[in-house]
């Protein structure tokens, strides 16, 4: 009976490669903490205008509901009625003055990443201090920069830049790197020879110099330009890894089988090989995100970032440089933000590496 029962019991469903990898990743406390930190940053980036800003999240004005804070995402999403009615970005007083019946739901912190909050802008509240007087305080948690812009507001809104630069640039790098690596690795022959030389050629060019040259050529630099530039200069490592993985995998039996079944080359490359090659490729992409954040901060620090006002963490660091002995808060807070974010991505990358590479598993004895 027992044997029969054992025989009839269905075997437990396999968690699959990704399921197992996730299982292993979860066991790594540092990796998970880093993952949670990145999720937290994503939330901060997404809801930045609701966390800190000087425009109401939602308000009722002259009988209608508006969402002025959306203007932080896209300028035209802020209803033009406020410009026509000459609000001039000062909502607290003007809402009451122009419509006593109005009400508003405000961001958690009344500060602005793009300008200095002036005296009495919020009734009874002093303006932001400037120069070296902007120490951290109850009104400016992380202090203010030399022209009185709130550091906390810039850090929160700067999260959008840091994360989007990381994600988008490495998405671009991933697409380029995987495509070139896949073609070189799978097709081999002269294609491999040519593409490998292209990879080596790009690797020979110092990326920062190339980035600076590309930025200098642009008439108007935006964060999207920076993302694209970082993306198109950071794909070589991914391409080499992808090439190696594709070379290895194309010899496997399941690929031979797919080929025997008449699958097209593209189908084999991107449906069968890529799926299995993705795990190791994700690791350099994760490290690449950290590197991209550092590059963007570095460019902003050097003054080659997006056009001002640009609440990037690197720009904040740069503003702290001019009076480094007095304005420590301009170095410590953005520096910590950059450090923690880069560390988080590196820990995630390391965790992914160990979770997906059987040779590195701590439990693989």
């Amino acid at each position: 009976m027992t044997n029969d029962a054992q025989l009839t019991t269905e075997p437990a469903a396999s968690r699959g490669f990704w399921g197992e990898a996730w299982q292993r990743f979860r066991r790594r406390k540092l990796g998970m903490a880093a993952m949670l930190f990145v999720v937290f940053l994503c939330l901060v980036a997404t809801f930045a205008p609701m966390i800190v800003g000087t425009k109401p999240i939602v308000c009722k004005y002259q009988g209608k509901i508006y969402f002025p804070a959306m203007g932080y995402y896209v300028r035209s999403w802020e209803n033009p009625i406020f410009r026509k009615d000459r609000f001039r970005n000062t909502y607290p007083k003007n809402l009451k003055k122009k419509d006593p019946e109005s009400w508003a739901l405000w961001p958690l912190v009344y500060q602005d990443p793009y300008r200095r909050v002036r005296d009495d802008e919020w009734p009874g509240r002093p303006g932001n201090p400037s120069g070296t007087k902007g120490h951290p305080s109850g009104l400016n948690f992380f202090g203010t920069d030399q022209v009185g812009f709130d550091v906390f507001a810039q850090l929160v809104h700067g999260t959008q830049i840091a994360l989007s630069v990381g994600f988008i640039s490495m998405s671009i790098a991933g697409v380029i790197g995987i495509t070139i690596g896949a073609l070189a690795g799978y097709l081999g022959g002269w294609v491999d020879v040519v593409l490998s030389r292209v990879i080596e050629l790009v690797m020979c060019i110092p990326s920062l110099v190339l980035i600076l040259a590309l930025v200098a050529m642009l008439d108007e630099v935006s964060n999207f330009h920076l993302m694209a530039i970082v993306g198109i200069t950071s794909w070589t490592g991914i391409a080499r890894l992808a090439r190696a993985e594709f070379m290895k995998l194309k010899q496997m039996e399941f690929i031979v089988a797919a080929r025997a079944m008449g699958a097209s080359q593209w189908r084999i490359m991107f449906r069968h090989v890529l799926r299995n090659a993705l795990a190791p490729i994700l690791v350099p992409i994760t490290f690449g995100i950290a590197a991209a954040i550092l590059i963007e901060s570095g460019l902003s620090y050097l003054g080659f970032g997006a056009s001002p006002p640009n609440p990037s963490w690197g720009t904040l660091l740069k503003s702290g440089r001019s009076a480094i002995q007095q304005t420590w808060w301009l170095i410590v807070f953005p520096g910590t933000a950059i450090f923690l974010t880069v560390l988080a991505y590196n820990l995630i990358g390391e965790g992914l590496q160990e979770a997906t590479d059987p040779r590195l598993r701590q439990d693989s004895h």
Binding site: G71, R75, S76, E78, P80, R83, K84, R86, R88, N89, Y114, R115, R116, R118, S130, G131, T132, Q146, V147, G148, A216, D219, E220, G303, S307, P308, P309, S319, R321, S322, A323, I324, Q325, Q326
Partner: protein, 660 residues
């Protein structure tokens, strides 16, 4: 020992541009003295053309057969002009001011916390040394901050701030001007200066005890030769050609007698004569082979070991790091006899430090002896023991002018109402208090209120931010947000044009901050402004070619207002915005023909008022000078340009002998 005025003019402007980041190369004077980095850009393109151009000495000079000296003397009724020494003038001025309130020892203990303290410090420490040089440590080195590297040691090729500094120290100048910008012939180089009554000729007799550093005498032929080199088409002269080109001819009748012929009798003739000169015997044969004066081996060697005629000569040059000049004993000694004042320093070392924060640290550490302090540093980083241990600091009123220039060719700024709206939109109080810590003065036009050119009756008053007025003006001009995207727009030539423009600013932090403030202000009235920090040479080139919509800059302090015509006159070289007002043009012309300073001042006053009404620029502020000096330094005096760039300027500064 007068500064070479043109170089100095240039230097000041360049210094301001490099320092503040957003200047054009010349202010009013820069027109006279040529182009700074713009010149570099020009020279590059020109130099390409040199490959196919044949060198013909003085081919840009209009044909002119100078009469003999006898004929000239017979025809001209000569009027004597002043031949002076800037040091003597300054000593006289200081004597009239009376004794300093504080002794040197007391001044060195005093911290500069108020205007009164500042005055006391300048009076006590700015005293020139006695004529016999007592108390001067002649064996010491003055280590100066250089905000950029020396680009050329050839005074005809100067194009950067440090080139001007070098030329001032190593060159001979026939003319100089004092801190009130009054010109005179330099006693160190000239015996007499006469002007013909019709003001079309100037006759100078040079001293016979001037020598080049290779021992050859400096003669009037060197001056004539240099004039012809400057006006040779194939020689890529970046800066000094403008102004000099206004001269008709320069003729050396013998080794010492020089006559300068003018095309017209103009009030600015004296400034046009301020060009540097080079040794004829060194260059006359080599120019045909290499008109660029830079490419051949011979010229390359001269670049590092130039033959100079001034108080100092090149001692050492490490590109990108420093250059050192050394006192020429043969400058002040002639046949063993002292014929000029002995220059105060054995050496002057220029250390290249581009970052102001590093420079301040170097000053505090005693590695450099002077540093141009930023308002921010003045306020928060130079008031502690760390600074006052080795240094003291001074400030003076400056005339350098910050502005936004509006390009009339764009669909936006041809309309006076729009330009006024821009001027009303700017938050001047915020700019002055937050960005410049209340250390600069609000602008009232192109001339400074304390200058003789500023209108005395109904002078312009500074703009105050008035966003309602700005919006009304924009509405009136037809700029309204018709599509509800938050940005004003207007139908121009059948197309809807949004009011969205870019503002070129230099990559200096303060320029970016001012640009960002304008952006914030305009954002409130539905105008979108993109602030574009731009590298200096690109900035200059874009302004030169008018390839911009709006541009922020700073004009340096001009010695004579005549050069403003080149900035605001219709179709003139530095009129980047394309401003044109025939009435203003007429006044500029009238002012050139008027020799009475008071009457000239009234004409420039009218120009100021007309331009204030037209607002081709939004004038922002006048910049003051802030300097930190090592406590051993004495004799620094100030003009509206700061402590350098006039006579005596750097030649009055010395290090006191250390007490035993």
């Amino acid at each position: 020992m007068h500064a070479n005025s043109r170089i100095v003019l240039f230097l000041i402007v360049c210094t301001s541009t490099f320092w503040f980041g957003c200047s054009s190369e010349k202010a009013t004077e820069q027109v006279e003295s040529g182009a700074g980095s713009a010149g570099e850009a020009v020279s590059d393109s020109e130099s390409t053309e040199q490959l196919v151009k044949t060198f013909v000495l003085g081919d840009l000079i209009e044909p002119f057969d100078p009469p003999s000296l006898e004929e000239i003397d017979k025809l001209a009724e000569w009027v004597d002009q002043p031949v002076l020494d800037g040091m003597e003038l300054m000593r006289k001025e200081q004597a009239e001011e009376g004794p300093a309130e504080l002794s040197v020892a007391e001044a060195l203990e005093l911290r500069n916390n108020s205007d009164e303290d500042n005055e006391k410090l300048i009076h006590a420490l700015g005293r020139l040394a006695a004529p016999e040089g007592s108390g001067v440590d002649y064996g010491t080195t003055f280590v100066r901050e250089a905000q950029g590297d020396l680009k050329s040691s050839n005074p005809l090729l100067f194009s950067a701030a440090m080139d001007g500094e070098f030329s001032e120290l190593t060159g001979v100048s026939l003319f100089g001007f004092d801190r009130h910008f009054t010109p005179f012939a330099s006693k160190d180089a000239v015996v007499s200066w006469q002007t013909s009554k019709d003001r079309l000729m100037d006759k100078l007799v040079l001293r016979d005890d001037l020598t080049w550093s290779d021992g050859k005498p400096i003669t009037a032929h060197d001056v004539e030769f240099s004039f012809k080199v400057i006006l040779s088409d194939s020689v890529p002269i970046p800066a000094v050609r403008s102004g000099t080109v206004e001269l008709k001819y320069v003729k050396a009748y013998d080794d010492r007698t020089l006559v300068i012929f003018h095309k017209e009798a103009l009030a600015t003739n004296v400034w046009n004569m301020l060009f540097p000169f080079i040794p004829k015997h060194i260059y006359e044969k080599s120019l045909a082979e290499d008109p660029t004066m830079t490419r051949s081996d011979y010229h390359s060697k001269l670049e590092d070991h130039p033959v100079v005629g001034g108080a100092y000569k090149m001692k050492k040059r490490v590109r990108g790091q420093e250059f050192v000049v050394e006192r020429r004993e043969e400058y002040y000694l002639h046949n063993g006899k002292q014929v000029r004042m002995k220059p105060y320093f054995k050496q002057i070392r220029f250390k290249v430090i581009e970052d102001p924060n590093t420079a301040l640290l170097a000053l505090k550490a005693g590695s450099i002896d002077d540093h141009r302090i930023s308002p921010e540093q003045w306020e928060s980083q130079t008031d502690d023991e760390d600074f006052y241990k080795n240094n003291t600091k001074n400030t003076t009123l400056g005339w350098d002018s910050y502005y936004f220039c509006w390009n009339f060719k764009t669909p936006f700024f041809g309309d006076k109402r729009v330009r006024h709206a821009m001027s009303y939109a700017m938050d001047y109080d915020e700019m002055l208090s937050t960005i410049f810590h209340d250390m600069y003065q609000p602008s009232r036009g192109t001339f400074h209120p304390t200058s003789w050119m500023f209108p005395k009756h109904e002078p312009p008053q500074p703009f105050q931010q008035d966003l309602d007025k700005a919006e009304d003006l924009l509405d009136e001009a037809g700029w309204e947000d018709s599509d509800g995207d938050g940005v004003r727009d207007k139908m121009v030539d059948g197309k809807r044009v949004p009011f969205r423009f870019s503002l070129l600013v230099h990559q200096r932090p303060d320029a970016i901050k001012v640009g960002t403030l304008l952006k914030e202000c305009l954002d409130q009235i539905g105008v979108e402004c993109l602030v574009k920090p731009t590298e200096f040479t690109v900035w200059v080139e874009k302004n030169r070619t008018k390839a911009f919509q709006a541009s922020m800059g700073v004009w340096g302090t001009g010695a004579d207002p005549g050069s403003q015509e080149n900035i605001f006159g219709t179709g003139k070289g530095r009129n980047s915005g394309g401003y044109s007002n025939p009435e203003v043009d007429n006044f500029f012309r009238q002012a050139l023909l008027e020799f009475d300073r008071e009457k000239r001042g009234e004409i420039y006053g009218e120009i100021t008022k007309l331009m204030w009404e037209d607002q081709p620029y939004t004038w922002l502020l006048y910049r003051n000078s802030f300097y930190g000096f090592n406590k051993r330094l004495r004799g620094y005096t100030f003009s509206p340009r700061g402590p350098y760039g006039f006579s005596p300027g750097i030649f009055g500064i010395y290090k006191a002998v250390l007490s035993p």
